[in-house]
């Protein structure tokens, strides 16, 4: 798990990126990622997720700011910092004519590690690729190619792994396998930073969530804290008979009528000390309204995410909160 009190393994300070055409992809990004955590970076298309990852990995040049990995500058000490990082790109970019074994071995050497067939075998077995080791990559399915990319990224035993949309385009079964692989990697001490479109993916496996939009980080927080802070719950009361309007006596609860007046919907804050549910149910009874069922639902991370990215300009307090410095 992350050691939020310790020195971050990745520190991004005042990072900016403006492309030659003037497009500002990243604006004053400040971010810490701690050793051993799974950090999910969420954001709509074009938010700047891949640009941020590419800059940390050395593929894209920053326009300003500073990044350190393991306390070392990624430009000055690029040999040290890059040897610590593995990257699984979004695109299925592979050497189509190579065998699985040779392409993974190539990656290990490229990152400055001596040949270690035992380690390569261990990776291939853990990713269910062992029986495909001699197959040419062009003969593999999309899911298998994705596994090959993960194997390549792990070949040099990195301490940090970037997964850019790792489950994009893979079936549900494989996606679950991927999640298990990510958990296993975390157990082995690898720090994982993933971007994803599948919010439930982040909800299931991430320790912390970062939300990026229009090149700005608008929120970084522990997942559970985020959901508790920004999540809302709803109480739905199923009525025996439909109502034409909400009685005046219940006006203070800001109830909504749904399903042709057969349901009363009450929205409340999860953080609130008093939810008002007991009093509400009592007053409904006092108003002579009969109901036959009640249910509650909690907003998902996806709803929180949608709510966050809809904010055109993030409040300064949100940026200053949590791990965003």
């Amino acid at each position: 798990m992350q050691d939020s009190a310790g020195t971050p393994i990745i520190r991004v300070e005042g990072l900016g990126k403006t492309y030659a055409d003037g497009f500002e992809a990243l604006k004053n990004i400040n971010l810490d990622v701690y050793s051993g955590e799974i950090f999910a970076l969420l954001g709509p298309n074009g938010a700047g997720k891949t640009t941020l990852i590419n800059i940390i990995c050395g593929i894209t040049r920053p326009s300003g700011g500073r990044i350190t990995v393991d306390g070392r500058d990624i430009i000055r000490d690029f040999r040290h910092t890059r040897s610590m990082i593995g990257l699984v790109p979004q695109e299925l970019s592979t050497d189509m004519f190579e065998s699985v074994w040779s392409t993974v071995s190539f990656s290990r050497g490229l990152f400055g590690r001596p040949a270690d067939p035992q380690h390569i075998e261990k990776i291939l077995r853990s990713l269910s690729l062992w029986n495909k080791k001699d197959s040419k990559i062009m003969t593999l399915s999309g899911g298998m190619k994705r596994r090959v990319l993960i194997a390549k990224a792990l070949a040099h035993e990195p301490r940090i792994l970037f997964l850019d949309e790792p489950t994009a385009g893979v079936d549900v079964e494989l996606r679950k396998d991927m999640w298990q692989i990510v958990r296993d990697l975390r157990e082995s001490g690898v720090t994982i930073i993933l971007t994803t479109h599948y919010i439930e993916e982040a909800e299931m496996i991430a320790d912390r969530i970062g939300v990026i939009n229009h090149g700005e980080i608008i929120r970084v927080q522990e997942k559970h804290e985020l959901m508790q802070e920004l999540g809302r719950k709803q109480l739905v009361v199923h009525l025996h008979a439909p109502l034409a309007r909400v009685p005046d006596s219940l006006e203070s609860y800001a109830l909504e009528l749904a399903d042709n007046g057969t349901r009363l919907v009450y929205t409340y804050e999860t953080r609130a000390e008093r939810t008002g549910i007991t009093a509400l149910l009592q007053q409904i009874s006092d108003a002579g309204i009969r109901f036959h069922d009640i249910e509650t639902s909690e907003s998902s991370l996806e709803e929180i995410f949608v709510g966050l990215v809809k904010q055109v300009v993030p409040p300064a307090s949100a940026v200053a909160r949590g791990e965003v410095r």
Binding site: Y19, C57, G58, I59, T60, R61, F78, R79, H80, T81, R82, S83, I85, L87, P89, E91, S93, T94, D95, M96, F97, E98, S102, S105, F106, S107, R108, G109, L110, F111, G112, R113, P114, K152
Partner: protein, 255 residues
């Protein structure tokens, strides 16, 4: 400098493995082309042409033919080697690896130059089946072979980064290098040209390569050997500076 030798070896092995996969294209095709040249120019037409500088015409064209193949194949191998990862997107791995441009060049250009030297040796052996070959200065022959292979592999590497598509990769060897090699004395001595065209020809950099290489075979040169060697080294240095600039600025590699 703290070099990543494992990375150099990985890139080199990867590129050499590509050559093994495409052995016919890499070796057999140039050898067949060269054999055809010898049959046509050496046996059929060459037998009716007088000796040049005391060397039979079939033998005279051997250095030029080797140089012609060396230039085009060095450029082709090196440009394809770096262009393919750009095209498929696998270049991300090289760009994110803990390596500098020195390792990248040593790996890619080293492999391309090795292929060219192998090809040059193969063509030489093929030529010996058709004509008598005498190598007056074996060390200098090998030096010119290696220097030319490295220089034009560097040039091919630049081309592979500059080119936006496979068409451009073909254009430069076909429309620039091959004409320069043909007009640079591959099949004739430039002393056979009228004085005006001799002067014009001296602006062709390939003249110096062919002349120096031919001198290492037959002890005859169109221009001084020192000048040939200097021009080759200058071309090599210019290519190195351009590649250094490419990696420094990230031209067409890093956004």
């Amino acid at each position: 400098m703290n070099l990543n030798f494992y990375a150099i070896a990985s890139i080199y092995r990867f590129e050499m493995a590509r050559m093994r996969r495409t052995l016919f294209q890499s070796i057999a095709t140039p050898v067949i082309s060269t054999s055809l040249y010898f049959i046509v120019f050496g046996a059929a037409i060459g037998s009716r042409i007088a000796e040049i500088d005391g060397v039979g015409y079939g033998s005279f064209i051997v250095p030029g033919l080797i140089m012609l193949m060396l230039l085009t194949e060095s450029i082709s191998n090196a440009s394809f080697g770096i262009h393919m990862p750009r095209f498929t997107g696998t270049i991300f791995e090289v760009l994110s690896a803990p390596i500098s441009f020195v390792e990248v060049i040593a790996g890619y250009v080293g492999a391309a130059a090795t292929k060219s030297v192998i090809l040059g040796a193969t063509i030489l052996m093929t030529a010996s089946l058709f004509v008598d070959i005498h190598i007056a200065h074996p060390f200098w022959m090998l030096l010119f072979l290696v220097l030319t292979s490295v220089s034009f592999s560097l040039f091919g590497f630049i081309l592979g980064i500059w080119a936006d598509g496979f068409e451009k990769l073909q254009i430069v060897p076909a429309l620039i290098i091959t004409p320069l090699a043909f007009l640079g004395g591959s099949f004739y001595s430039i002393s056979m040209l009228p004085p005006f065209w001799q002067t014009v020809t001296l602006f062709n950099p390939v003249v110096y390569l062919i002349s120096g290489f031919r001198w290492s075979f037959y002890d005859n040169a169109d221009v001084s050997v020192a000048l040939s060697l200097s021009m080759t080294c200058v071309f090599l240095c210019i290519c190195l500076v351009i590649i250094w600039w490419i990696f420094r600025t990230g031209y067409k590699l890093r956004t």
